[in-house]
Amino acid sequence: MYEFFFVLIPRHFPFLLEGALVTLELSFLSMAFGLVLGLATALGRLSGKRWLDWPLMTYVEIWRDVPLIVQLMVIYFTLPTIGITLSGFWAGVLGLSLNLGAYLSEVFRAAIMSIDPGQRAAGMSIGMSKPMIYRRIIFPQAFRIAIPTIGGYFIALLKDSSLVSFISVNELLRNGNIIISNTFRNMEVYMMVAIIYFILSFAASRLIRHLEHSLTPKYLRRQGRKAKALAPEIAVLP
C-alpha cells in the first residue's frame, strides 16, 4: 500500500497522464469529425435523393457491422499498400471518426425526424428558407433530443479509443502496458489506468448533463420529463 501510493504513483503517473492526454486528443478530434460526418450523413439520407441515400446507407451499415479493432487494423496496415500512409494517431482518428459518424448519423436522423413536420410547414408558410428552418427551428430542438445519446457515444468513444493502442499509438492504455513490461507491476498499473479512464468518463458524463440542462428551457428545468408529461393545459378564457 505504502509503495503504491508513495513510490509507484509518483514514479509512473506523469507517464500515464501523457497517455491520457493523447486519449483526450483522440477522443475530442474524433468526436468533432464524427459529429460533422454524422450530421452530413443524416441530412444526405433525409434529402430524399435516392442516389445519395444508398451510398450513405452502405457506409453506415459497413461501419456499424465490422468490429472497430478490425477497422483500425485495415486503415493502419492495408491503406499503405495502396499508397496512403497515416501515422498511428491519424489512422486512429480516421477510424474512430468514421465509426462514430456512422452511429451518430442514425441518432441525428431519428432526432430530426422526431420534430413535428407541422413546424417545418409553419416556417415555410411565413417565407423562411429551408436552411433557415433547419438552423432556427429543427436543429435546436433535434440537438436537445440527441444530446443524451451523443453523450453516451462520447463516453463509449473515450473508452474505445484504448483500441488504438493496438496500432502503436502512445495513449493511456499503451503507456500503461509499457510501464508493465518494464516493471511487471500489472495489478497496480492497470488499477491506475482504470482509475484515470473512470475519472475521464465520469467528468465527460457530468459535462454532458450540464450541457443538457443548459439547453433545456427554464420552465422545464429541474422538473425533468415527468413534469412535462403532467403539465396541465392552462385553460384561460379565450
Binding site: A121, G127, M132, K228, E233, L237
Partner: protein
C-alpha cells in the same frame, strides 16, 4: 370589376402519385374579400390552400398572386417560379394551421418575431414592439414569455394568428383553424377572425363552421371531388343550392 384580383387560380391540378386530388380548380380572390372553402372531407380543400401557399407543389395549372405568377403553363410545359419568388409570396400570405404548428422551443414572443427578423430582416426592437402590439390585440400580452406547451389550444391558435399578422400580410390562409379546439374555445378564435375581416384583411378560410361562414363570408366556394362545384354569396349557397352535391352536403350538416 376593373381591379385585378389579389389571387387567381386557374385549372389547378394536383396529384399524389395515382391519386388525383385537385382536378382543375378555378378560384379568384379579390383584395379585402373573405372567401370560405367548404365541402366534404377528402374533397381537396386543404390541398388547395396548401398549393396556393406552395407547401405542396401543384402538378399543373396557374396561380397568380398580387400580379406575380407563381406557376403557369407555357405551351405544354409547367413552370414554377424560383424559390426566392415563392418565399416572398409565402411571406405575404402566411397560413394558420389546424394544429397551430407553433415553434415549441420558442416563447410566444419569439414565435411572433421569428418571421419579421429572419424573413423581413427587421430590426429586433421594432419587431418586438410590433409583436407586443399584435399579441395585445389577440389578448395575450401577459403571455409573452410563455412557451407553447404552457398555453391552451385557443391561446396557441391566437399566437399563430399573431405570427401570421406579424408578416404584414396581404392575405391570410386559414386551414380549419378551429377544428382542433375544445368547443368552448372556438368562439374566441372566431371572434379574432371576425375582427380581422372587419379590419379589411383578405382571408381564405377552410372551415366546417357553417354558421360562421354564413355570417362572415363574402363568397363561399363548395369543393368536392377535387373541383369547385359551386360558388356564390353565402345566402344563395346555403338557402338555394343549385348543385345536387351541395344540396346533399347542406342537408347532411343540418341533419
Amino acid at each position: 370589376m376593373s381591379e385585378a384580383p389579389l389571387l387567381s387560380v386557374r385549372a389547378l391540378h394536383k396529384s399524389f402519385g395515382a391519386l388525383n386530388v385537385l382536378k382543375g380548380v378555378d378560384l379568384t380572390v379579390r383584395s379585402g374579400e373573405v372567401a370560405f372553402l367548404i365541402g366534404p372531407s377528402g374533397g381537396g380543400k386543404s390541398t388547395l390552400i396548401r398549393c396556393i401557399n406552395f407547401l405542396e407543389t401543384p402538378s399543373s395549372g396557374e396561380i397568380t398572386f398580387d400580379g406575380r405568377p407563381l406557376c403557369h403553363e407555357d405551351g405544354r410545359v409547367f413552370h414554377v417560379a424560383p424559390e426566392r419568388v415563392l418565399r416572398a409570396a409565402r411571406s405575404e400570405m402566411p397560413m394558420v394551421f389546424q394544429h397551430f404548428n407553433l415553434f415549441t422551443h420558442r416563447t410566444v414572443l419569439e414565435n411572433v418575431i421569428e418571421g419579421p427578423l429572419m424573413v423581413k430582416r427587421r430590426r429586433r426592437d421594432e419587431a418586438i414592439a410590433d409583436a407586443e402590439r399584435l399579441l395585445r390585440e389577440v389578448g395575450l400580452h401577459d403571455k409573452l414569455d410563455f412557451y407553447p406547451d404552457q398555453l391552451s389550444g385557443g391561446q396557441k391558435q391566437r399566437v399563430a394568428i399573431a405570427r401570421a399578422l406579424a408578416m404584414q400580410p396581404k392575405l391570410i390562409l386559414f386551414d380549419e383553424p378551429t377544428s382542433a379546439l375544445d368547443p368552448e374555445l372556438v368562439a374566441g378564435i372566431l371572434d379574432t377572425i371576425r375582427a380581422l375581416a372587419d379590419s379589411g384583411m383578405t382571408l381564405v378560410v377552410v372551415s366546417h363552421e357553417m354558421a360562421f361562414a354564413r355570417k362572415l363570408a363574402d363568397v363561399v366556394h363548395f369543393i368536392a371531388e377535387g373541383a369547385i362545384m359551386e360558388s356564390g354569396p353565402p345566402d344563395r349557397i346555403f338557402d338555394n343550392p343549385q348543385n345536387p352535391r351541395l344540396s346533399g352536403f347542406i342537408r347532411s350538416i343540418l341533419h
